[in-house]
């Protein structure tokens, strides 16, 4: 920063500051955040944020929907990595009810969640590339993202808003086709990723654009409630997967990448390394995939197999009860956190035993850390502000709930 300050007058000529309205329809704000910047030439003096432009009242809707329908809501929280939200929600309900899922389900979930994490980080890093002006990397990596979509589609039938999990396990087992796709992906994706890295990571233009841009110290980041890659970029290796392992994450060997100073370059690199770590986790999960059922044996909560519904009366009654949401849910309150694409995604669920949650609060990492943005961009240039925003990976659905 000090270097560039030599070139730009630090005090404005006549004390006149401009107000610049960044967003909500600015290309870099993805149409949903507004930042009113006070500018001194190209330098940002202060920023004021407005959000809520796509507030959709998730929490209110969740109070009126039975547990299984809430999965469709969680899809749309962080839509870059919907499966993590879906499965996180399912695990929360399982925790509330006290369902033990088979090891196989855990491993299947790990594979799906890590794929989702890769797709999330891909979007973020591609967008950093796009916002620094290197569009081509976006096109290379989005082809790989399509393959992840194909795999999701193979499991659940949809690409983005997956609705992938069920309380107690999966809707169906992994198909052989999926394993083919997964193996092909594991083989070819690293090469593409390498292309992308070679184009950007050590290119001085890119490094100049990102190093010391939008930094945040570890202490401030913690105080601001940062989690996930953004916190790790600041040097703190907090990862829910390690600290409070869920879904058998304790069975896997992986490293937690950290950065030095929490700037854009660190965030980029941490995400990039996490992609590699996720790949390694997927490989391990594939190697160690245990035999067993793809869902827990909980007839009160997991829909009976269709062939029985069509025939047997008992199964039909269960089926009706589950779909109508008439099964007994224990009352109580539970907090469950998973490591989402952007950090600790928490579900705070209060149940009063009814068919819908009494209160469901989502701890949305984006919402919490985005408030640090004005502090991070103060004194930097307009271009920095944009790169910082994309490297924070603020997902609108998660921000505004």
């Amino acid at each position: 920063m000090d270097k560039s300050q030599q070139l730009v007058a630090t005090d404005s000529m006549d004390g006149e500051l401009a107000t610049l309205n960044l967003g909500p329809t600015h290309p870099a704000t993805h149409g949903i955040f507004q930042n009113v910047l006070t500018m001194d030439g190209e330098r940002i003096q202060s920023a004021e944020q407005t959000c809520g432009y796509i507030h959709r009242a998730f929490e209110k809707i969740a109070e009126r929907r039975p547990f299984n329908q809430i999965t469709t809501l969680t899809d749309r929280l962080n839509y870059c990595s919907s499966p993590i939200n879906n499965l996180g929600w399912d695990m929360t309900v399982e925790k509330l009810i006290g369902i033990e899922v088979p090891k196989r389900v855990d491993y299947m979930r790990v594979i799906i969640m890590e794929l989702a994490r890769i797709s999330d980080h891909l979007v973020c890093n591609c967008v950093i590339g796009v916002d620094t002006g290197a569009l081509t990397g976006f096109f290379y990596l989005f082809q790989e993202r399509e393959r992840i979509y194909d795999m999701f589609e193979e499991v659940c039938g949809a690409r983005l808003t997956t609705n992938i999990g069920r309380i107690g396990g999966f809707e169906r087992d992994f198909s052989p086709e999926l394993y083919n796709k997964l193996n092909a992906f594991l083989k070819e994706f690293p090469k593409r990723l390498e292309d992308f890295e070679n184009m950007l990571c050590r290119n001085r233009i890119f490094m100049d654009r990102t190093i010391d841009v939008g930094p945040i110290s570890a202490e401030r980041a913690l105080n601001y409630g940062f989690t996930g890659p953004n916190l790790r970029a600041a040097g703190i290796d907090y990862d829910v997967r390690v600290m409070n392992p869920y879904s058998s994450y304790q069975d896997f060997e992986f490293k937690v990448p950290v950065g030095k100073s929490g700037d854009t370059f660190d965030r980029f690199n941490v995400r990039q390394e996490e992609i590699h770590q996720s790949l390694s986790i997927i490989r391990q999960a594939l190697d160690k995939m245990p035999a067993g059922n793809y869902h827990a044996d909980v007839p009160e909560f997991y829909l009976p197999p269709k062939q029985e519904v069509y025939r047997s009366m008992e199964a039909l009654i269960y089926h009706f009860k589950i779909v109508m949401g008439e099964t007994d849910i224990p009352s109580g309150e539970v907090y469950h956190a998973v490591e989402g694409g952007n950090g600790e995604l928490g579900f705070y669920l209060i149940s009063d035993g009814g068919r819908t949650p009494y209160r469901l609060h989502f701890r949305r990492p984006c919402f919490i850390y985005y408030q640090a943005y004005p502090e991070m961009i103060k004194g930097s240039m307009l271009s920095d502000a944009i790169v910082t925003m994309s490297s924070l990976n603020v997902i609108a659905g998660e921000l505004d709930a």
Binding site: C51, G52, H55, A57, E59, K60, I61, E63, R64, K95, L96, R220, L222, N223, Y224, G225, I236, Y238, M243, N244, L316, I317, F320, M324, G332, E333, V334, Y335, A337, E344, G346, Y348, I350, Y358, R359, H361, R363, F367, I368, Y369, Y370, Q371, A372, D400, A401
Partner: protein, 186 residues
């Protein structure tokens, strides 16, 4: 750190502060009266032993039939090094709906408190910028309170006959249930 040490430390530092304590699903939950809340959280963060440096979450809950304990504010704190989570709860009534802000302690609390205010109208005293965050400034009610409907009145493509939508959710469900039950023998 474990549960006993924590409770004892709190007891010795702030005697009688804990109204109730429980541990639903392995997460220690303490109920604290409003006046003591801020001092306690401050101490929990700054004390080297306690070291709750991370504020995970703040949210509100509405219990319409609880008189002067109608609204709850729930705090989730996290001691990262010991990996210990703590839930604090405090209750306020509709008349005296003030809770002290903890913005100075955790910067993260700023927006979380604004969100809680936006949803429930809980006033965080001393908050630097307590205004709506997600909803429009013009909104004249607090939408997450249980008495307000979820739906938007402007939806036109829904046939109310099928959903029994007179602002009463239960009718919907009963209608459908009746519809479904009649064919159970199928």
């Amino acid at each position: 750190m474990d549960k006993e040490i924590l409770i004892n430390a709190i007891e010795s530092k702030f005697p009688g502060i804990t109204e109730t304590s429980s541990e639903p699903y392995g997460l220690l939950t303490l109920e604290i009266a409003v006046p003591n809340l801020k001092a306690l959280i401050h101490w929990l963060k700054d004390d080297e032993q306690m070291n709750f440096i991370f504020l995970t979450d703040i949210c509100g809950v509405h219990y319409p039939n609880q008189g002067n304990r109608e609204f709850a504010v729930v705090y989730h704190l996290h001691n990262l090094e010991a990996n210990f989570r703590l839930r604090l709860k405090t209750f306020v009534g509709r008349e005296n709906i003030n809770v002290p802000t903890i913005c100075e302690i955790y910067s993260a609390a700023n927006w979380m408190e604004r969100e809680t205010f936006d949803f429930y109208g809980i006033i965080f005293e001393g908050h630097p910028n307590l205004k709506r965050i997600l909803n429009m400034d013009e909104m004249d009610y607090f939408p997450m309170r249980k008495e307000y409907p979820m739906e938007d009145a402007t939806r036109t493509d829904k046939d109310d006959r099928f959903f029994g939508r007179d602002g009463n959710e239960n009718v919907t469900f009963d209608n459908k249930k009746a519809l479904a039950k009649g064919n159970n023998h199928g």
